[in-house]
């Protein structure tokens, strides 16, 4: 496909929206961002090959055929994105079942060290001797 401005802009919009969603704390929104990003990438890959007749031997002269490779790659990528979407949804569901929400949490130990740093203490282990 010759790089067509409309497609390029769509890829750009999908990426921008995807990244903006990715920065959210709620896992469901992160997931939406991932889906948008995935679609953006797929469209980007499609732009890499050229369009034309179906790539079947004898259907058209070689130069007029579409490049099948990007389409194969997109198929693979779509399957992977689908699987990941299902897994992330399961994670979000499990998280909301366990913790009552699906927000991405800070690490427990990180929070502990942060609190210690605020009160300017050591990690405490040495004092127990």
């Amino acid at each position: 496909m010759t790089p067509n401005l409309v497609y390029v802009v769509i890829v750009g919009v999908l990426f921008t929206a995807g990244i903006a969603m990715l920065l959210e704390r709620s896992l469901t929104r992160v997931l939406m961002g991932m889906i948008l990003l995935g679609n953006g990438v797929n469209l980007l890959i499609l732009l890499g090959g050229h369009a034309g007749a179906p790539p079947i031997v004898g259907a058209a002269p070689g130069e007029e055929m579409a490049d099948p490779l990007p389409q194969i790659m997109i198929l693979t990528a779509i399957v992977i994105t689908l699987g990941m979407t299902a897994f992330l949804l399961a994670l979000a569901y499990r998280s909301s079942a366990m913790a009552g929400h699906d927000e991405v949490q800070d690490d427990v130990e990180d929070r502990r060290i942060m609190r210690l740093a605020e009160t300017d203490q050591g990690s405490g282990t040495e004092d127990d001797r």
Partner: protein, 499 residues
């Protein structure tokens, strides 16, 4: 003997299917997984032998010649990585079987564990053998998806929390990698690495640099290179001990392998060398400072894992044969040692009831075997002579000194400081967990099942034994590095003759 090449990928996948069918028969599952992984080790060893004596082996999948079809390439580097990684998977599998039996899970184990573990192995081997970028991506996805499942095994609250961070970060790196692949295909019209060698040279300089940067970014996240490393100490420690061990040993190293492969084969000339060296320095120093501050053994080891990725980048960034050879030697050493340490930590948790340093003590007297199992790899990690960690670091220091630049000397200084701080960090674990009087809340008699001690002991011996075979191993690394820098051998092997 080319038919051997796909076996390390195919066998674990067949094993996956079999173990899935045997979901209700744990004993049969164990037999199948062990057989498959042992066979993978044997095939990998054979591949290493053949690639060393006869040169790279290539299989064109389905008979479609490159660059149209998919090629699997086993050169010395790939074969060496296969041998080390498959050995780790077998040892960790035995350990996890031992743990499952000791925990009384023999009748009701998680039936997804074995299939997922085999899928993880298949992903790792596929990434090592991939001869084109898209297949490398697929390899990464296979191992990542398996790792998501293993990390969130059981679905406890803590694992879900850690799993979310891990999954989102990994997905982001996959998206970046896939974007880079799309752009590379659009620019060159091929993804076979051997074909890209010539096609990429024809591209404008700026475009090449951008593609190189995107690949480095994607692999940097997977390899946990600072500043893209903060996800690792956050997520790894929550998983079960054997899972953490196999992740620590293999997953980041696949990222490093991808960096080595693309930086030498696709983007030679060291345009990113300065960036790599600076990142190496930061990774080493920031990682180890993080380790020093930790009060939990698993988290501490995760930080040393990040820190020592810096040594590997150091070797790659030097872009000399000696530097690469040392990096390859160091990868072998580091995979073995880091896996061993996490397995030993699993045993500490079992005996002492915790991995928090302020809840442990007196383990040296309570369990001398455990003390040896921890101390030997810990000293090895810190680079005490005569262990392999010392030899690897010595090689890197020599390569840095041969380079002679200001940055190289800075890295040597940083590397030595990191080595000292590693020693400090593990000595602190030793002092707090193995000396002192036992903590009152520690269990009186923690069992140490033989099936868990056995593989750990084997890996400790293997790690120490690396010193004995250091000469031949370094020669293999040197030859592999020579092949990487030369490039033409790889291209000729794929296309079946000079082009």
């Amino acid at each position: 003997m080319n038919w051997l090449v796909p076996l390390p990928v195919v066998m674990p996948l067949i094993g996956t299917a079999l173990t899935l069918m045997m979901a209700r028969r744990p004993r049969a599952q164990r037999t199948v997984s062990l057989t498959v992984l042992t066979a993978t080790v044997i095939v990998s060893a054979a591949l290493l032998w053949f690639t060393t004596t006869e040169g790279s082996m290539v299989v064109t999948v389905g008979g479609w010649a490159a660059p149209l079809g998919i090629v699997l390439v086993a050169d010395q580097l790939a074969a060496l990585m296969l041998v080390v990684s498959s050995t780790m998977t077998v040892c960790v599998l035995v350990y996890s079987i031992g743990q499952g039996m000791a925990d009384g899970h023999e009748e009701t184990p998680l039936s997804v564990y074995h299939p997922t573990y085999l899928v993880l192995t298949a992903g790792v081997t596929n990434a090592f053998l991939a001869g084109d970028l898209f297949n490398l991506y697929v390899g990464f996805e296979i191992l990542l998806v398996a790792s998501y499942v293993l990390l969130t095994l059981g679905g406890t609250e803590n694992r879900i929390r850690a799993g979310i961070t891990y999954v989102v970060v990994s997905l982001l790196s996959s998206v970046i990698f896939l974007t880079a692949i799309g752009l590379i295909y659009a620019a060159t019209g091929t993804l076979t690495m051997a074909h890209l060698v010539e096609r990429l040279d024809e591209l404008p300089d700026g475009l090449r640099l951008m593609l190189q940067g995107m690949l480095l970014l994607a692999f940097g996240i997977k390899a946990a290179v600072f500043p893209l490393s903060s996800w690792l100490p956050d997520s790894y420690p929550t998983a079960p001990a054997p899972v953490t061990a196999v992740f620590a040993g293999l997953l980041t190293k696949v990222g490093v392998y991808a960096i080595i492969r693309t930086e030498t084969l696709l983007f030679p000339g060291g345009r990113a060398a300065v960036v790599l060296l600076i990142l190496a320095l930061l990774t080493m120093v920031v990682g180890i400072l993080g380790a020093v501050a930790q009060s939990d053994i698993k988290r501490l080891l995760s930080f040393t894992l990040v820190s020592h990725i810096g040594y590997l980048l150091f070797g790659v960034g030097l872009t000399t044969q000696l530097g690469l050879a040392s990096a390859i030697f160091y990868v072998v050493h580091h995979i073995t040692i880091q896996t061993t340490l996490f397995l030993a930590t699993g045993l500490i948790e079992r005996r002492g009831g915790s991995t928090a340093l302020d809840r442990l003590g007196g383990l040296a007297r309570l369990s001398p075997v455990l003390a040896i199992l921890f101390l030997v790899p810990a000293l090895n990690l810190a680079g005490i002579p005569p262990f392999s960690g010392f030899i690897g670091k010595l090689g890197l220091v020599q390569a840095g000194a041969a380079d002679g630049g200001v940055l190289a000397w800075l890295l040597i200084a940083g590397g030595l400081a990191t080595s000292l701080l590693t020693l400090y960090a593990v000595a602190r674990v030793w002092n707090l967990a193995f000396w002192r009087v036992p903590h009152p809340e520690m269990p009186r008699r923690g069992p140490l099942p033989r099936l868990m001690v056995g593989p750990t002991l084997a890996l400790v011996a293997l790690g120490a034994g690396l010193t004995v075979v250091a000469g031949p191993l370094f020669d293999i690394g040197d030859q592999a590095a020579g092949g990487l820098l030369e490039r033409s051998g790889y291209v000729e092997a794929v296309f079946g003759g000079p082009r």
